[in-house]
Point group: C2
Chain length 458, copies 2
């Protein structure tokens, strides 16, 4: 066979030990918080039936879903006219019965409906698994990446909004990533705006423009709204939102006055007020909370609270988490009236922020702590007997496999940043001793082999 | 949209919280042992380039690899004659640039070659990720399943054979799965047999027949060998292997005498003798070791030691692990002369054996430990303040989100087997107290809210 130059598909990544250690540090911290809040893990298959995924993410989403080519003679049963016309779009569902999951939300909805008789509602689950998207790869955007989701389904209680705010605070505090901002909005407030401008069908144009307030300023937003056909009078009515400032409570006051004629809008204000009221008595540890009416993420999806997490001030990074309440996720699979709320953590971006702020503890690397040098089989046997005891103490320890030159073995220890080396040469073997060398300080001490369990490692 | 009846592709599985907990128990035990032995984690992408995988697993393997349909207009650039002939086999590489990984070994080889300049050899890695095979699903055989592999590349030392035997012993001991048998063989001994029968090209027929010794007995094996064209005289020469019995050392003696004219065969005996000699001084904790010359797994792949793990006697189950030494894994990707050795753990089967023997600890379920009943918003707020403290202690605790009937809330606690319930009703709220009810014993005690950190949980 010809030699192949090794490479991986674009938009995918190899993770070397140090990278896995960092990711696992974040994942384990998140898992730990999820568990403490009563969420339990589920896992779903990497690929779902074609029909389970298609049509759930809009046209663009459908295009970005990776489809799996049917096995065997996939040309059988394909409609001749589509084949002859080389109509890729019509051929896709005939050539593919399965597709890689695009997110964890639709598989979760499918899971809840399929297993509804085994579940006790409200059902709290978390799920940390990779998803795949045929997106154009770019900095920070990959074709395979992990999602970390926690959701509760089966209750409308606003105490869950509070729980998720606390969960975010708890995770970022545990990661030592202080000062993130939990931005919150409510879809009902956005609907209230739509009512105010009198054009429900302009809601998306409206929120898309509003979302740019940070970047293009009040004048820019107004210009875009006008360009989209939203009238001057309508814009006048919602003008207060361009200069919303002050505390959560103060912003709510302004919104309440502004939305006084919209029942839905007022309901949104009421829901956020509840959250604001309770949080007064439940101080967050390190996160900040802010009402942000420009927040709209997945507008067609959320029905109540909307969350998004911004990195600490001074760090340039898109949102590092988000979520919200949805009232009808499972109905497409036949289960109606199940309200849910969930949040997601952006694993890759959280990692980038932690790298930038140098927040990973030095201890996360779990490579070898002790290397036994190899002076030959008799000495190696003695080392291996020591290793059994060291490993039973939980130490990460191994023998250099070959009786190579000592210089080479020491280099191996240095390159792998192994802090301790154990040396058993001919004289140590005869004396029943070993030398323990601290690779950082360069000091070394002699122990009897019977003393291996008494060493104080430092 | 029409309502869809939810289902998953055949051969795949949903894992509910209890199943994830069991799997994680096994995975964490394995990971822990891997780390203690100095293996470090890597992760590779779920899909590789088509050419990376194809041609590595034989024709059958190629067929069982899941291919990903190219995105966009995949009909472009397809050769007209193949399209018109509906030649699926020739069309596959034109319709698909990527494929789901089939095992962890080929991606590992690709990784080592691609990253060779970053690695320090001998390089020890572990990898625990799912793989996919378009196999016909059956009991215990799935289209998506996890592999758990540990390998060392870059050394020929036989101390690594010993290390892997100890690793197996260590993992199964930690799982409390006592009495597994580590079966060991050596490819060079099998090659020696082939030399003895004088027909190197009959080696596969020979080992396939020999592998059935357990099932069809000596006479059956001989009949099959004869049917495959292996001569009577040749069979006579290897007859001692049909009745190999006794200790590891005793079997080696018989083999040594038998293979005296085969240099390769004697090398195999010598390698196994080294292992046997060292293990005398390195007693295993709970595993047994046995020389099994019928063991041949992946014959074209292994070049030295071959391992396979049998479940404890009395448990009906195929092998629950296996591995061996390979001398030329990375050469297909352009890196020659790198010897490697690795082992794999059969996660699903280990789980089945542990289920059968009832070995999972009761404590692996990590659902809620404490549920706070919800009597209304004022009481719920008080509960949520308690929850903050309980969670900081690491307790898994949550509020029932709705002020539902108490009977319903208690049923929720029971169904989810939550051992403790905290009750704050109107009078507790006024008195600054809470009731802690033990759901198992039915007893309950009253605490001040300030005493929440002093509770002795039992």
């Amino acid at each position: 066979m010809a030699v192949q130059k090794p490479s991986i598909p674009k938009g995918t990544r190899d993770f070397s030990p140090n990278e896995v250690a960092k990711r696992n540090f974040i994942i384990n911290t998140i898992k730990n918080a999820f568990t403490t809040f009563g969420f339990q893990p589920i896992e779903t298959p990497s690929f779902e039936n074609y029909d389970t995924l298609m049509g759930k993410y809009g046209e663009e989403g459908d295009r970005l879903i990776f489809k799996i080519l049917n096995s065997g003679d996939f040309t059988q049963g394909v409609k001749s006219e589509d084949w002859e016309a080389k109509n890729a779009q019509r051929l896709t569902p005939q050539l593919s019965e399965k597709a890689l999951r695009y997110d964890l939300t639709v598989p979760f909805a499918r899971y809840v409906v399929q297993h509804q008789n085994e579940l006790t509602f409200p059902f709290k689950r978390y799920q940390i698994q990779p998803v795949w998207r045929a997106d154009r790869p770019q900095k920070g955007r990959f074709r395979e990446f992990y999602q970390c989701d926690a959701d509760v389904v089966g209750s409308h209680s606003l105490w869950q909004e509070i729980e998720f705010i606390q969960l975010y605070d708890c995770v970022f505090t545990a990661l030592n990533l202080k000062g993130v901002t939990i931005k919150i909005n409510n879809r009902k407030i956005l609907s209230g705006f739509a009512e105010m401008i009198g054009e429900q069908d302009k809601l998306i144009d409206f929120t898309v423009a509003l979302d740019k307030l940070d970047k293009i300023g009040k004048e820019g937003v107004i210009a875009e709204m006008l360009a989209k056909g939203i009238g001057t009078e309508a814009i006048e009515k919602v003008k207060p939102i361009f200069s919303l400032e002050g505390s959560f409570a103060k912003k709510l006051e302004v919104l309440k006055a502004m939305l006084s004629s919209s029942e839905t809008g007022l309901k949104g204000v009421e829901e956020l007020s509840f959250v604001e009221q309770q949080l007064k008595h439940l101080p967050l540890q390190t996160a900040l909370i802010d009402l942000d009416v420009t927040l709209a993420r997945g507008l067609n999806y959320y029905t109540g609270a909307i969350f998004e997490i911004a990195a600490p001030e001074g760090v340039q990074m898109g949102s590092i988490g988000g979520g919200g309440r949805y009232d009808d996720l499972t109905s497409i699979f036949g289960l109606k009236g199940v309200s849910g709320i969930g949040v997601s953590f952006g694993l890759d971006r959280i990692g980038l922020v932690m790298d930038e702020l140098n927040l990973f503890p030095e201890t996360i690397n779990n490579g070898l702590e002790i290397l036994c040098l190899n002076f030959g089989d008799a000495e190696a046997l003695q080392c291996t007997q020591l290793l059994q005891q060291l490993r039973q103490q939980g130490k990460r320890a191994a023998l250099y496999p070959d009786a190579a030159k000592i210089k080479k073995q020491m280099e191996y220890a240095n390159k792998n940043q192994i802090p301790f080396v154990i040396i058993i040469g001919e004289s140590e073997l005869q004396n029943g001793t070993f030398v323990l060398k601290n690779m950082l300080s360069g000091t070394q001490e002699v122990y009897k082999t019977s003393e291996v369990n008494t060493i104080v490692w430092q």
